[in-house]
């Protein structure tokens, strides 16, 4: 088996050769218009073809895990918002889920439904803005991003009226959610969700069959299912390779088994499949949201037995994971019975999805690197932590 992790099929050429000329080393980033934050790649180019690519991380290393070990369990909740700053709700949920697992806390039914609704809304805004960013990386500068952010702002308005903050929601608590819905919220959310397919129709009509987009994305950055599984790729990127693995189906956390939805699968594992995977997932998310909004029961929003102040879970360890918009987001916590976790570890989907960047980029032109990086969907807050 020749396919391996960072294993090249043939040895890269020497840095200078009389026939091929010199390889040009280019440092892309950390300040680059399409590196999605402060990410740097040292690229060795032969003409325009990428021969080597070395990612350089750590420009946004904010000591998340160390701070988590020195903060109380509840005090880490606002920090999880800032991990993947597009999806604070799903980060909250993953962290709350692992603490609930650690302490054995039950969650009321209404809170569980609300979590599903908020996580799917997060998925809508994350995927919508990803499509905008990916297209602006491809040269459609501005317009698709404006369309995507128009939809995103509507969802952020919902988050703001619920939690008080547009991006850093800090909404979930161990054993439920912080507060109940404000009056009229559900009607507004229903209106938004019902109108969302119109944005998708418009977007697909404008973009998906566009000749330039197809030329830029099809057969670019192909990922084999074998390598994807070996490297631990999760999320839409794995499903674009045709691997049927969605934690919402596999784990069945948070009442997801009660909803009818399909898991879209790709076939080729190229950038086009990754892009389409987001569009198809958006349609499924709209379906989940409509079902959850129909079914949500009245009742308490938080488990009254949980004492959030001076919260001390029993000695033990737990790993809670959810299917975040970018992939499997997990929190691994070890408790020694104190008020702080003994070990606090995040399994960030975008960091692990980024590890195969070199394998995807080799042999493509330097302009394709931006498209491939955009299709991986990284957020540096989560990559560097």
């Amino acid at each position: 088996m020749s396919v391996g992790f960072h294993e090249l099929e043939e040895a890269p050429p020497p840095m200078t050769s009389r026939l091929e000329g010199e390889l040009l080393e280019v440092s892309m980033g950390p300040q680059h218009p399409s590196t999605h934050g402060v990410f740097r790649m040292n690229v060795a180019l032969e003409g325009e073809i990428v021969r080597k690519l070395k990612p350089v991380f750590g420009y946004l290393h904010r000591n998340h895990e160390k701070i988590g070990e020195n903060t109380s369990y509840l005090g880490s909740m606002p920090y999880t918002d800032r991990l993947d700053y597009f999806c604070s709700m799903t980060n909250n949920w993953a962290y709350a889920l692992s603490v609930e697992k650690l302490a054995g806390i039950e969650v009321p039914e209404r809170a569980e439904y609300l979590r599903v609704i908020l996580a799917e809304l997060t998925r809508l805004q994350n995927h919508a803005s990803l499509l905008g960013f990916l297209l602006s990386d491809m040269g459609a500068w501005g317009t698709p991003l404006m369309y995507a952010f128009r939809e995103r702002e509507k969802i952020l308005d919902l988050f703001e009226s619920l939690s008080g903050s547009r991006m850093m929601c800090d909404y979930m608590r161990f054993g439920g959610c912080r507060c109940d819905l404000p009056p009229g919220w559900m009607e507004r959310a229903r209106k938004l969700v019902d109108g969302f397919p119109r944005f998708l129709d418009e977007f697909e009509k404008l973009v998906v069959s566009n000749e330039i987009l197809i030329a830029r994305t099809q057969e670019v950055g192909k990922l084999s299912a074998e390598l994807a599984i070996n490297a631990g790729i999760t999320g839409p990127m794995l499903r674009a390779c045709g691997v049927n693995y969605d934690l919402r189906k596999v784990d069945g956390y948070g009442f997801y088994p009660r909803f009818k939805f399909r898991v879209p699968l790709g076939e080729h594992g190229d950038c086009y499949d990754r892009l389409m995977m987001r569009v198809l997932e958006l349609r499924e998310s709209v379906g989940i949201l409509q079902q959850a909004m129909e079914q949500i029961p009245p009742g308490p929003i938080v488990n009254p037995k949980v004492k959030l102040r001076s919260f001390r879970p029993p000695v033990g360890e737990a790993y809670g994971r959810i299917e975040g918009p970018k992939g499997e987001l997990g929190f691994y916590l070890i408790s020694d019975g104190g008020s702080n976790p003994y070990r606090y570890r995040v399994r960030p989907p975008s960091f692990i999805n980024l590890t195969i960047l070199e394998d995807l980029c080799l042999g493509h032109t330097v302009a394709d690197v931006m498209v491939i990086l955009g299709s991986i969907d990284i957020v540096m807050g989560e990559v560097d932590r």
């Binding site: 950390p30 300040q31 680059h32 218009p33 934050g37 402060v38 750590g58 420009y59 946004l60 290393h61 904010r62 000591n63 160390k66 701070i67 020195n70 606002p78 920090y79 800032r82 700053y85 597009f86 991003l145 404006m146 952010f149 128009r150 995103r152 702002e153 547009r166 991006m167 850093m168 540096m380 807050g381």
Partner: protein, 206 residues
């Protein structure tokens, strides 16, 4: 006098279709209405910066929508996000590469002081230790309206800069520094830990 036209004379002449201005007013009017920011995001605040530039908040109303990826073409650096010790030298270098006149907005709690990550071992406690900051925006992250407000404050500041005289703008004075030493990572921390030309730690008087 530098930049001041008598208001009565001006309105009298305007009635007759004559617009009177001074070089300073015209110069500052042009500068303040076409501020080109550096397209440079660090962390969460960068997303709010993009939201400000996008359709709903529309930074273009203030003439600031032309985000330039190259520091050579930029007038304004919006330090949007957490500055780590690995990133601080690059930011100072980018600032040095910007041509005068140049301005800095420190967006969000992290860029001001380290914010929620201040206790972290790898986080710089405020970008104003190395480069001069014109406008600070508190918040984590600040709302797009707050960035618009900072933009308007910066426009007000530009409008008040004098071209001549004793109190002329510092970028017109050849003796004023426009580039600052780039810190490097030493044995334990960034060296030098601060730039004494721009950063003066507050002294507590009792």
């Amino acid at each position: 006098m530098s930049g001041q036209v008598d208001e009565g004379l001006r309105s009298e002449l305007q009635k007759q279709g004559i617009w009177v201005t001074s070089t300073q007013e015209l110069y500052n009017w042009g500068r303040r209405n076409s501020i080109w920011p550096l397209q440079f995001g660090l962390a969460c605040c960068a997303i709010e910066m993009i939201a400000t530039a996008a359709s709903r908040y529309d930074l273009a109303r203030f003439g600031g929508e032309v985000f330039r990826p190259s520091p050579r073409q930029a007038d304004l650096m919006i330090v949007a996000g957490t500055v780590t010790k690995k990133m601080a030298p690059q930011i100072v270098r980018l600032y040095n590469q910007m041509p005068d006149p140049k301005y800095v907005i420190s967006m969000g709690a992290c860029a001001i002081s380290g914010g929620p990550f201040k206790q972290g071992y790898n986080v710089l406690k405020g970008i104003d230790r190395y480069i001069p900051v014109d406008v600070y925006i508190p918040g984590c992250p600040p709302r797009p309206e707050a960035l618009l407000h900072a933009f308007m404050e910066l426009q007000r500041k530009i409008d008040g800069q004098k071209l001549t005289g004793e109190s002329k703008a510092p970028f017109l004075d050849a003796n004023q520094p426009s580039e600052f030493p780039v810190p490097a990572f030493g044995a334990h921390d960034l060296e030098p830990p601060l730039n004494s030309d721009v950063f003066h730690p507050p002294t507590i008087k009792r």
